[in-house]
């Protein structure tokens, strides 16, 4: 009725669809709640509502056996690997390049660019630590 479909709990594909929709809905609700409540002048409530929705989404993600299968996890690994490679290549080129341009008085990095480079560097520090811990565990 009214386009609603029922979910058969014994059907893993239906469970997967349901959990994915629930996860996406909670993330959407988090964003909507944050921006709406912040817009109407309730910033603290906005953050609390945002955290609550994201926490619920994380619970769905970790409690659901059906939401991600091995291909999803493989795609996630490949995407993460490519992202780290891309950021690494950009960092290798840009970081010394900007320093050289600054030394030659050609270009001074804005605080925003400095922040981006620092964030990428921090990503690599976290990645290196995570890799080391994972290597010890396997």
């Amino acid at each position: 009725m009214f386009g609603l479909t029922t979910t058969d709990d014994t059907d893993p594909l239906a469970t997967r669809r349901r959990d994915r929709r629930l996860f996406g809905g909670l993330i959407g609700a988090a964003m909507l709640a944050f921006f709406t409540l912040d817009f109407v002048g309730r910033p603290i409530v906005a953050v609390l509502a945002y955290w609550a929705c994201v926490a619920a989404a994380v619970v769905v993600l970790y409690r659901s056996d059906a939401m991600m299968d091995e291909r999803d996890r493989a795609l996630e690994r490949i995407a993460s690997h490519r992202a780290v490679l891309a950021v690494g290549a950009a960092l290798i080129v840009l970081s010394p390049g900007i320093s050289a341009l600054s030394a030659a008085d050609v270009y001074d990095a804005t605080p925003f660019v400095d922040g981006v480079l620092f964030g990428w560097l921090a990503l690599f520090v976290v990645w290196t630590g995570t890799y080391g811990v994972t290597r010890l565990q396997r």
Partner: protein
């Protein structure tokens, strides 16, 4: 890696969704395996072989690029 999953599935008169439900993965995963764009884990390969009551080697075979 080449595979005969599509042939086994159609011989069994199953849809991709049926097979996905039987081995507990998404329909997209079965589709990717059949199109040889994704090589399944050993666990999933064994599940598929078990489902079709055949050997893993009957379903999957190395090709010259592997």
């Amino acid at each position: 890696m080449k595979n005969a999953v599509r042939e086994y599935r159609t011989d069994a008169d199953m849809s991709q969704a049926d097979l996905a439900a039987a081995v507990d993965v998404s329909r997209q995963t079965i589709n990717s395996i059949e199109r040889e764009r994704y090589d399944p884990s050993l666990e999933l390969a064994l599940k598929l072989a078990d489902h079709f009551d055949c050997l893993v080697e009957d379903l999957f075979e190395l090709d010259e690029t592997d």
